[in-house]
Amino acid sequence: MRTLTELSPASAKARADQQGRNKGDGPLARETSDIARQGAPGTTRAHESAVKHVTGRAAYIDDLQAPADALHVALGLSPVAHGRLTRLDLEKVKSAPGVVDVITIVDVPGHTDIGPVFPGDPIFADDEISYVGQCLFAVAAESHQAARRAVTLASVEIDERPASLDPVAAAEREEFVRPTHVQQSGDWQAALSGAAHVIESEQFVGGQEHFYLEGQACLVQPTEDEGVIVHTSNQHPSETQKLVAEVLDIPFHAVTVEMRRMGGGFGGKETQASPWACIAAIIARRTGRTTRVRLPRAEDMRATGKRHPFHNRYQLGFDAQGVLQGGDITVIGDCGYSPDLSEAIVDRAMFHADNAYSLGSARVTGHRAKTHTASNTAFRGFGGPQGMMIIEAAMDDIARRLGQDPLTIRKRNLYRAGRDVTHYGQPVEQLGLLHDLIAQLEQSSDYWARREAVVAHNARNPIIKKGLALTPVKFGISFTAKHLNQAGALLHVYTDGSVMINHGGTEMGQGLHTKVCQVVARELGLDLEQVRISATRTDKVPNTSPTAASSGADLNGQAARDACLTLKARLFDFAAEHFGADRGGLDREGMRLEAGALIAGSGEAERRIPWGELVQAAYLSRISLSEKGFYSTPLIHYDRETAKGRPFYYYAFGAAVAEVSVDTLSGEYLVDRVDILHDVGDSLNPAIDIGQVEGGFIQGMGWLTSEELKWNDAGRLVSDGPATYKIPAFGDLPPVFNVELMQGHPNSQASIYRSKAVGEPPFMLGMAVWSALRDALSSLVDYREAPRLDTPATPERVLMAAEALRQRTLASQEAHHAPA
């Protein structure tokens, strides 16, 4: 832990430091005794709702009390992937017991397209059916069960057409939801033709179901005006406000969206929480009754989009040392039936096709293939993970080709001085951090000794093979849609001194509210208990961005701090004048809020005014105790025409070492040990950050191992519940799991207290497990080749890869022994 040398408030340097700290770019106090007591940033504090979580008092949407006459909605979903809706007879549905209202697209008063960024998402299917699970109609009834049973009485006729389910074929036919984008740096063709070695390969990277434990849910109350109040489990309240208003054809100010907490989001409630709110809002307005929707798990999994599956191809040239010279990379994102966020998601895959390595002269092409499945959407990493899989696969491929350890090849290819600009033109800063981090982990994980042990083990054991891998992460932080990089906050101080902070970010378990409260407590010199966040509400902070792109604390923490700084300045001015006269003058210059008091001067001249007294005095003197804050991220830009710019304010780094044991007869495997070192700059809350790193890693590991989405030939998702879709369980936690935050490297950019975003980057640490599985398999052929291992690398895929390697060995042995 870094500590700050004690500030001498009288000195000019201290003032400058303090000012710098206020601006976010001075030396930082990770922990001083005062601040530690206050639960300020840099200290470990429990999640603000922890006690409510463990006692069952934390309320989620379906726990909210509603009037006895509240309606429950169930949805009629398409059983067919592609076709034309020729008949929709809902008479029996309407007359079913308990049914109050049934709506289809003709009952929508306003907009019928609720596409979040680009059009293409009808609230109900009109004519064209585009996927199994698409919403055809909605039923409102007196109970959840009555509504669900009524849905089954519908008579639906669809003129079924062949479904397009293969994104590669779709790309060949140029069936895209958005235009192809190409990034290019240098002469990639010359680099390829001039390279000593070339590898060419392809991979399939599977999608992922969010499996937030709380399914999609909302509760809508009609207001006395033409509007509604929407309670929703939702990462983007402002967008839901907009869409609900447009669907109802009413002004935005008639819709208030409130969001207290989600039972998990992970990206799945960024755009895809809105449709249910729109449907409930229509019914609430039609009936005048409170209306609730919650999707049963199987319907949730069929109706909503997932992480995009990707097909990646790469052709890369490298020199005798294994250093990349350049190449050509193509990614095809399987977007499902509509654009949703796929433009930005495939962009992010392209932005991360380099991961932590310089590609040299490269072309990166990204296609957005249209298929007849649910519209794939945001999911922790937002395409970045799928892009990184290319270059991590290539690192292993190169190592096998040259007979080198994969770590050696990875280190040779890291961004370094002279090779420090990405293929989209952004310089990679903090190269020292990247190299230090990998060197530290290499040592702390005892990589090379364990490599020897693994090789020795594998020489002794024909069946059980061990694998080891270190993979880095470099992840760009900022929304690539520039306008989203803004945030607002609203700060209220009440006359008892208690503080309420509202901001545009949403709490989904990541500890955002805890961190923002810590920021406010620190700025105002208060105990954390004196600061509270109620809920995220569109009538408190308007026009907010989604809580996504790992940006929650970066943006909203800064906005909250901005509000605090303005209010502080006002209180200091007031105090200097108000308390100055009768107390012999207060030094405005050195004023600060600390330990529950305003402190002015130092030593003998130090004066303390307790926070409560200050607030009371300000109120009686008619000084406003409320303030708004705002923040917009500096520096960032990206030009789609030239495919160049600085889309990211900064990069977050990390690395993981995984060791696995693989049973090559059955395909079963175990993750024996994982070591992680991750960069969060100067941590705002180490416990919460460690929680994000560990949880992200396990989720990333699940994506690449056990979590397999399967659709049948008719386009119906058959892995539609936890019985068939396997997220990691308790026993998948590695028995040895060493997780550390990188110390001593504050963010080089002026982020909130020099911290770094932590939501998404650790997800990609899971790649170490996949690479270790490949390493273990590679031992079957004496490390001469890296087997193709598509993901998720289920026991089935691992076994089939092992079988293929064994067959090839047998064949080559036979060929070798055959008479000439």
Binding site: T55, A58, Y60, D62, L213, G264, A723
Partner: protein
């Protein structure tokens, strides 16, 4: 009427439909929303509650259950403890306090279920302290999914909760609670709104009810049946609960083996299996989750006749028999004659399984059980192989190779068995046996695996068997043939 105690307070609920789950009763009728619905299929554990029933000593024993697929009527005469019932005023229960201190919750939605699983562990630890091994924790927490934390802080909470002050819930102060609960347990039929839920106490009453109500469904653990209502929206309005039929709850030991009553739960079978069928006991640890094993029954798994049920292949390898009962009296048949076709069994109209006979293994009998699935815990088999044999003067005898996931029914590999029977376990014999599996099985592709994978994996399990026998025979220091977590 359902007459039970909820967090120490008596509850009487009238007119509860037969197919109401505990979760539904809590959330919609009693306004207790701390218990969450994550999947309504018994797979995620967010709805975990603790059901207290009097043990042999009269004290209440608390077992975790999935509220979403446990019939509310099964609460009759029980003490239900939910997440709302653990704290003593503001003082948290050790399971709760440890979860807070260890940062064990992030989004918090799975947390009530995890706290309840930890509570049952804490209760057991108070009664009989045992070392908290990784395996022990996996048994307790394997049925609770968390999508946020990655489980490390939850493991820390489980390991540290005994260090916290042993704060009892208020209801634990009531010395009469156990006897009050016991007094509620009376045999009575419960007429429900628009249906019937009846829980007979003996075989005669069960036979009579089954004859009177031929359409009624039998329910024990409900761990599969209840999905018909939560997932397929079927009405289950006429149910006969066999959980309390004395004869179906007996484990009867004879010199030849054990008759296991059809309503005996997996959790109750654990000690017997640990002693006599360690390979089966090892499978149990990976068999669904603790919540399911506390409710699910061996009879239910057999009657269900799923091709991917975990116990039937093992029972086939053990040459188990079933005793059927019904209006025409009892009859007994080998289990291998019980499974006819996909979900078709030899059960006649109004017949039910009374008990399953597991022959006592002699010392020479070997049993290996290997389950292949995407996830080690709480998953359904892609392929399950159960192999029994003995070595007699260097040749294999009484070879029984049973598989799940390879055919429409749990089935023995007759052709492969015939090749191994009476032969030495050498390479060529096993190679022939592996090839013969192609005659025995033509598996299908589904969500859990492709036909090709199943065929290769089943064949490789026989190779694993050969390697193990080989290592045993030559008493060589055993080369690693399986992963330690899968070995037994």
């Amino acid at each position: 009427m359902i007459d039970f105690y909820l967090n120490g307070k008596r509850q009487r609920c009238n007119d509860v439909p037969a197919d109401t789950s505990i979760l539904e009763l809590l959330r919609t009728r009693l306004g207790q929303t701390g218990t969450k619905e994550g999947c309504a299929s018994g797979d995620c554990g967010a709805c975990t509650v603790a059901i207290g029933e009097p043990g042999d000593d009269g004290a209440l024993r608390y077992a975790a259950a999935n509220g979403c697929i446990t019939p509310a009527h099964q609460l009759d005469g029980c003490h239900l403890v939910t997440v709302e019932g653990l704290a003593r005023g503001d003082a948290l229960h050790p399971a709760q306090a440890a979860m807070v201190e260890c940062h064990g919750s992030q989004c918090g939605f799975c947390t009530p279920g995890i706290v309840m699983s930890l509570f049952t562990l804490h209760e057991e630890q108070r009664r009989t302290p045992t070392p908290l091994s990784q395996q022990r924790l996996e048994e307790v927490l394997g049925g609770n999914l968390c999508r946020c934390t990655g489980y490390r802080p939850i493991r820390d909470a489980a390991l540290s909760m005994n260090d916290y002050p042993d704060t009892h819930p208020l209801w634990a102060d009531d010395p009469d609670l156990a006897s009050n609960v016991a007094q509620l347990r009376s045999a009575k039929a419960s007429a429900t709104r628009g249906g019937h839920y009846v829980a007979p106490r003996d075989l005669a009453a069960l036979r009579k009810l089954k004859a009177e109500r031929p359409e009624a469904r039998l329910v024990a653990g409900a761990t599969d049946l209840w999905l018909e209502t939560t997932q397929q929206l079927k009405a289950l309005d006429d149910l006969i609960d066999v959980r309390q039929v004395a004869e179906l709850n007996a484990i009867e030991e004879t010199p030849q083996g054990w008759w296991i009553g059809a309503a005996v739960t997996y959790s109750r079978l654990e000690p017997l299996f640990e002693t006599h069928f360690p390979a089966f006991a090892h499978l149990l640890h990976r068999f669904a989750s603790k919540q399911i094993r506390n409710r699910g029954t061996l009879g239910g798994n057999v009657a269900n006749a799923s091709p991917i049920g975990d116990s039937p292949p093992v029972l086939l390898a053990l040459d188990a028999r079933v005793s059927l009962d019904g209006p025409d009296g009892e009859r007994e048949l080998p289990l291998s004659d019980f499974f006819l076709d996909y979900k078709q069994t030899a059960l006649g109209a109004n017949e039910f399984i009374r008990a399953i006979f597991m022959p006592r293994p002699d010392e020479a009998q070997n049993l290996k059980v290997w389950k292949l699935s995407k996830r080690r815990e709480d998953d359904i088999s892609a392929v399950l192989g159960a192999f029994a044999w003995r070595l007699d003067d260097g040749v294999m005898r009484d070879v029984r190779l049973a598989f799940g996931g390879m055919a429409a029914i749990p089935k023995r590999a007759a052709a492969a068995e015939a090749i191994l029977e009476g032969q030495a376990p050498d390479d060529t014999t096993f190679a022939d046996a592996r090839a013969a599996l192609a005659q025995d099985f033509q598996p299908m592709s589904d969500v859990r695996g492709s036909a090709e994978y199943r065929q290769v994996a089943a064949s490789n399990l026989l190779e694993r068997l050969r390697l193990m026998i080989d290592a045993d025979r030559h008493a060589t220091p055993q080369q690693e043939v399986t992963l330690h977590a899968y070995a037994h």
